[in-house]
Amino acid sequence: MSGSDAHRTIETVWRMEAPRLIAGLARLTRDVGRAEELAQEALVAALKQWPEEGVPRNPAAWLMQVAKHRAADAARHEIMARRKQDEIGRDIDNERPAMPDIDEALDDEVGDDLLRLIFTACHPVLPKEARIALTLRLLGGLTTDEIARAFLVPEPTMAQRIVRAKKTLSEAKVPYEVPAGAELGARLASVLEVVYLIFNEGYSATTGEDWVRPGLCEEALRLGRILAARAPDEPEVHGLVALMELQASRLRARVGSDGEPILLLDQNRARWDRLLIGRGLAALELAQRLAGAAPGPYLLQAALAACHARARTADETDWKRIVALYTVLVRVTPSPIVELNRAVAVSMAEGPEAGLALVEALAGEPALKRYHLLPGVRGDLLAKLGRHREAAEAFEAAVALTQNARERALMQERAVKERAAGC
């Protein structure tokens, strides 16, 4: 193997093993920052030794062994240093550092370290953006620069965010464990939230000019699938995976040849990825079986996405089922935006008059006051009812509210059309 080939292979293997390596080391050292450093030291050692010795049969074990010895060496040095202080007569009893139990750690594979790492990186003691950054770093193996570019933030800012996150975790003495019992629900929700935020960051990158951002969808899917394999009895985990698979199935249909966004009902369904749809429907089925009579929000959103995925053409969409699902979703996660989406579905299932009634009922909602889709939807329904002047006014109101240039252009176009029709 040539020098550069060997390096590429070693780095590839290391990248494959890094999350589990860090996860195991974090259990040993009780510090994710230290764990990451040790993992990097193991990489350096591998780059030195493997070109000559070849890649070991069990690279994970080799890397872990090296990292653990480094950890033990460092701990021993620390103890020696303190013993020297001892000789000067200091009482160090309560300052003795925790000596990692190498023997215990070598044999002890209690539970899933990777799962522990995921829960730790997503701990609610950290602000949301820190959880995202730490997850992408420790579990995704993205560099600080890549994470910074993914979230449109300067690199030094992101570096600081990650450093602070690690510090917060160690200062808060967050226990390195998979939460259980009453705690599990909320902690799992935090993990799922992080994964879905990563997915949406990638999903909303419509132009794909920078490959890091669409790559986030793949990363989120991978994390979701890893989670599903390790927490197979959790319906919302499968629900989230189903939702992401189904949404990702539409990625190639969402953007036109000029980079302009294409609405779901207008998309060319031949461009929808059938493999991902199959996977999404399978995950949904599993989630539904596990959830029984108590569907959670991700499962419900996945079921909604599935209604579209199953429709071979836009006309075949089962709007009645979509309305029914939204009715449940509104109960499970009450929100004016969900109500608005339900109103749209009602208009498709029962006609624009019925939908409009629901939209008018939302007129006073403070949360929707600056939401451009409220007048936007209203305008669309009024247009369908032939009330052109009112429709034009609604679209003009939407134009005033929307931040996005393309959406503004779309609304403007419709306003002009309705003005003309109203004459």
Partner: protein
């Protein structure tokens, strides 16, 4: 019944020659028909073998050989996964396919294994593994 439908490579596909707009349009229309018929379960184009590699297994040894590979007409250039009522239905659909290549070409149809086909070698453990695999990756059990 599920099938893999493979488009074999040609010198054109191996050379990375892009398809004509005409062929692209025809293929798009064909794919739409497959989707509307509900038989389309997946499909991809494979990059030329110059972008690929082969791994040889010999005991514990692994050797990697980079592409391109010579036996063009045996290489796969693209595939679909279909779910049809029968092999005859799959054949009928292949007949309707526009020629996927500029010159003469070949499409191969192969039925996929289901768990029942493995018969006696299946243990409760491997059956559970299979179920998990299918729950994960979709497709029938």
């Amino acid at each position: 019944m599920r099938f893999m439908v493979m488009v074999k490579a040609t010198q054109d596909s191996e050379a990375g020659a892009p398809p004509t707009q005409e062929l692209l349009d025809a293929m798009m229309a064909y794919n739409e028909e497959l989707v509307k018929a509900g038989i389309m379960k997946g499909g991809d184009g494979l990059q030329p073998s110059s972008k690929g590699a082969r791994v040889q297994f010999d005991g514990t040894k692994r050797s990697v050989v980079d592409g391109p590979f010579a036996e063009t007409k045996e290489l796969v250039a693209g595939y679909w996964l279909w779910e049809c009522a029968s092999l005859d239905e799959a054949i009928a659909w292949v007949k309707r396919c526009p020629n996927p290549m500029p010159g003469p070409s070949e499409i191969e149809i192969r039925p996929l294994f289901e768990l029942a086909d493995f018969g006696e070698i299946v243990t409760p453990e491997t059956a559970a593994q299979w179920d998990r695999l299918k729950a994960e990756a979709g497709g029938q059990g």
